[in-house]
């Protein structure tokens, strides 16, 4: 599908050759899209900074959503890693699968670039406290 990428490109910039010029999208943009799609997913209580520091998953604030997402390119396809905190008591495999298909679908819909993989890393669980 996407054969437009050249080796000479600066790393980390997605390109699609088009008839009328070039469109470049930076990985941080893809990450933001993926982050927004992810936090709208049911059962996802937040993004978490990738990698654990001292074994503690850190819930990211709203404006830092893209920090819980890693975007890279493998063989001309997007590979997206998302790091999330999931609600305790949900079936985590089902939430993760929904997350994969939603992120894939949203990024493909918004960018028109095929997504090769969406990898979900559940970094922690959040337990709800009934308020009222």
């Amino acid at each position: 599908m996407s054969t437009a990428e050249q080796q000479a490109d600066p790393p980390g910039v997605l390109r699609r050759a088009r008839d009328r010029g070039r469109i470049e999208v930076f990985p941080s943009v893809v990450a933001a899209m993926a982050g927004h799609a992810a936090v709208a997913c049911y059962g996802v209580m937040g993004m978490s900074a990738r990698g654990l520091r001292d074994g503690v998953a850190q819930l990211l604030r709203r404006e830092n959503l893209d920090r819980g997402v890693d975007v890279h390119e493998v063989d001309g396809q997007l590979v997206i890693d998302v790091y999330v905190i999931v609600e305790y008591g949900t079936r985590i495999t089902a939430v993760a699968q929904n997350l994969q298909s939603t992120v894939r679908f949203e990024v493909q819909r918004l960018l028109g670039v095929p997504v090769g993989e969406v990898n979900v890393f559940v970094q922690g669980v959040h337990e709800d406290t009934p308020s009222g």
């Binding site: 936090v39 949900t90 939430v95």
Partner: protein
């Protein structure tokens, strides 16, 4: 959506309290009603990912929720609700399934320790269930199942404020509010408005409330053991593990298709033949679930009323032993069942074939062509990635070609390569004829890569025409379709509609330049009528004398006819 006419209220029959057994029956009512509406829910599914499986996912989740409560005699609602919450959690599938499991979880938490609920307590529990569902998402999308759950809870609460309110009043208010909220979803979520549908998950929840209401409205006071006031403590609930004297009998389930059937009459008759009878549906389609010692008698009676479908008879003593043995129940049946071909000699190239197929005839065809394992699935019953993975792992080859044979399955199939140690080659076959053409092109003496290319090439050369009925009014690709029309899809895209199989198929064949093809293979689906087949084949013979027509039994669901043109 048919709404049930509200009968004149009969105060003497109105349940005043919900105990475990009424709640259980009501959930079984929800299950039946959702089963009957599953396809419709699937069709509506456009958000968040338009993969047409919301109904199936919700149904599998609800099935898992009621699996453990079916045989429970527990009188306490807390026990039944806890079983339902656990079951739905373990079986949750898809987004709406996960939300549904949270709804059950919230309900169960709220009724903890309670034996029965007053109408007001039931309303509180509905509301708390919705609140719990909202707590598991940070950015709730309105115009979805969540909105419907909240509105139903709110309405139940308002109805319960009336001191005369019965259980039925509360549930009716919830069901009605669920319908109103579902009808409103297109005003809240733009993509629904664009597609001209209501939210699939919301509609699914509406159906669940409606099924619940049916049971509550029809519940016979005798079936709800009303505890006389002041009779003190009830006897301890019988441990459900004791074997009743007459044995467990057979859990018998089937559908009756017919015309002008009387649900009431059939219910009375079937109720006389066993217990836990559940008979729901309308004049044309009735779903029956009954526990009986004489399943043959029930089936004989029912086959006199109409045509039987999806008959399932389970020996409950056996099921019970399975539970006692603490055996983990198998994955839900009916979806992604595995049929591994008999052991055969290994191929010289060491490459195996796995195909996704729906329909007994098609399974035979694919196996006859040498496919090593067939995963059952297809339109609206998408097998999970895991189902496909199991099939891939089950065959004695380290290199495997996987054929999804359906556009909706490709996404799940793409996940399989990451999960297996085997080298997997995915073919992008989107239809059954493409799959068959690809398998025919397989050469056991060439390596996997060469086969993948040759098979993809072969798949591209076949034209697929799928013929079915429209389930709702819609416009797609500029084709206007009315509910009930015969429609034809060419290579997965809607192209023609009309009232006659012959006309529609002729139009479709004209589109694909019939002069460059020689053979039309008609795969006859489950439920396709002889007279429709005759109309269709005669039309091809009349309009395209140059094409040879061959009919094969496909047994696929949803599409009465799939045509392969090559």
């Amino acid at each position: 959506m048919k709404t049930r006419p509200v009968a004149e209220q009969k105060p003497q029959a109105r349940p005043r309290l919900v105990d475990g057994q009424l709640f259980k029956l009501a959930l079984l009512g929800s299950l039946s009603w959702l089963t009957a509406n599953q396809e419709e829910v699937n069709r509506l599914n456009v958000f968040p990912v338009p993969d047409g499986d919301t109904g199936t996912n919700m149904l599998l989740t609800l099935q898992s929720a009621v699996e453990d409560i079916r045989e429970s005699d527990a009188k306490e609602i807390s026990k039944i609700a806890a079983l339902a919450a656990h079951g739905s959690l373990m079986g949750a599938r898809g987004n709406s399934g996960v939300i549904l499991s949270q709804i059950f979880r919230g309900f169960a938490k709220h009724v903890q320790g309670k034996a029965e609920l007053t109408p007001a307590e039931l309303a509180d529990a509905f509301e708390e269930a919705a609140n719990a569902a909202y707590r598991a998402v940070i950015k709730p999308t309105e115009g979805t199942i969540l909105t419907v759950a909240r509105e139903a809870g709110k309405a139940a609460k308002a109805a319960a404020a009336n001191p005369d309110a019965g259980v039925d009043t509360v549930v009716r208010a919830a069901a009605r509010a669920a319908k109103t909220a579902t009808d409103n979803t297109p005003t809240q979520l733009a993509i629904l408005h664009e597609a001209g549908v209501v939210d699939a998950g919301g509609f699914g929840l509406q159906v669940i409330f409606e099924g619940f209401l049916k049971t509550v409205e029809e519940s016979d006071p005798a079936a709800v053991p009303a505890r006389p006031a002041g009779s003190g403590k009830a006897l301890p609930a019988q441990r459900s593990l004791e074997l009743p004297e007459e044995g467990w009998g057979y859990c018998t389930e089937f559908l009756i298709e017919g015309r002008g059937m009387s649900v009431e009459e059939i219910r009375d008759n079937i109720a006389g033949m066993g217990n836990s009878a559940l008979v729901v549906g309308d004049e044309e389609l009735i779903r029956v679930h009954v526990h009986t010692n004489e399943p043959a008698k029930v089936l004989a009676y029912a086959s006199g009323v109409g045509t039987l479908a999806r008959t399932k008879v389970d020996d409950m003593s056996k099921q019970h032993r399975v539970i006692l043995d603490d055996t983990v129940p198998a994955e839900p049946q009916g979806n992604g069942k595995l049929a591994v071909a008999d052991a055969q000699r290994k191929r010289p190239n060491g490459v195996g074939l796995v195909a996704v197929v729906a329909g007994g005839g098609l399974t035979e065809i694919f196996k006859g062509l040498g496919v090593d394992a067939v995963v059952e699935g297809g339109q609206t019953m998408n097998p999970s990635t895991n189902d496909m993975l199991k099939a891939v792992e089950s065959i004695p080859y380290d290199e495997v070609l996987l054929l999804p044979n359906n556009a909706n399955v490709i996404l799940a199939a793409q996940q399989v390569p990451d999960l297996t140690e085997k080298k997997l080659y995915l073919l992008g076959t989107r239809t059954v004829p493409q799959g068959i053409a690809a398998v025919v092109a397989f050469n056991p003496n060439r390596d996997a890569k060469a086969n993948q290319l040759a098979m993809a090439e072969a798949a591209n050369q076949v034209q697929t025409i799928e013929v079915t009925h429209a389930v709702r009014d819609t416009t797609a690709n500029g084709v206007k379709v009315k509910k009930g029309d015969v429609i034809a899809l060419i290579n997965d895209k809607l192209k023609h509609s009309g009232s006659d199989y012959g006309d529609v198929v002729s139009l479709a064949l004209k589109d694909i330049k019939p002069e460059s093809y020689e053979l039309v293979t008609v795969y006859r689906g489950d439920g396709a009528k002889d007279k429709d087949l005759k109309v269709l084949t005669e039309a091809i013979g009349r309009d395209f004398p140059g094409l040879e027509v061959e009919v094969q039994d496909g047994g696929q669901r949803h599409y009465p006819f799939i045509l392969s043109v090559e």
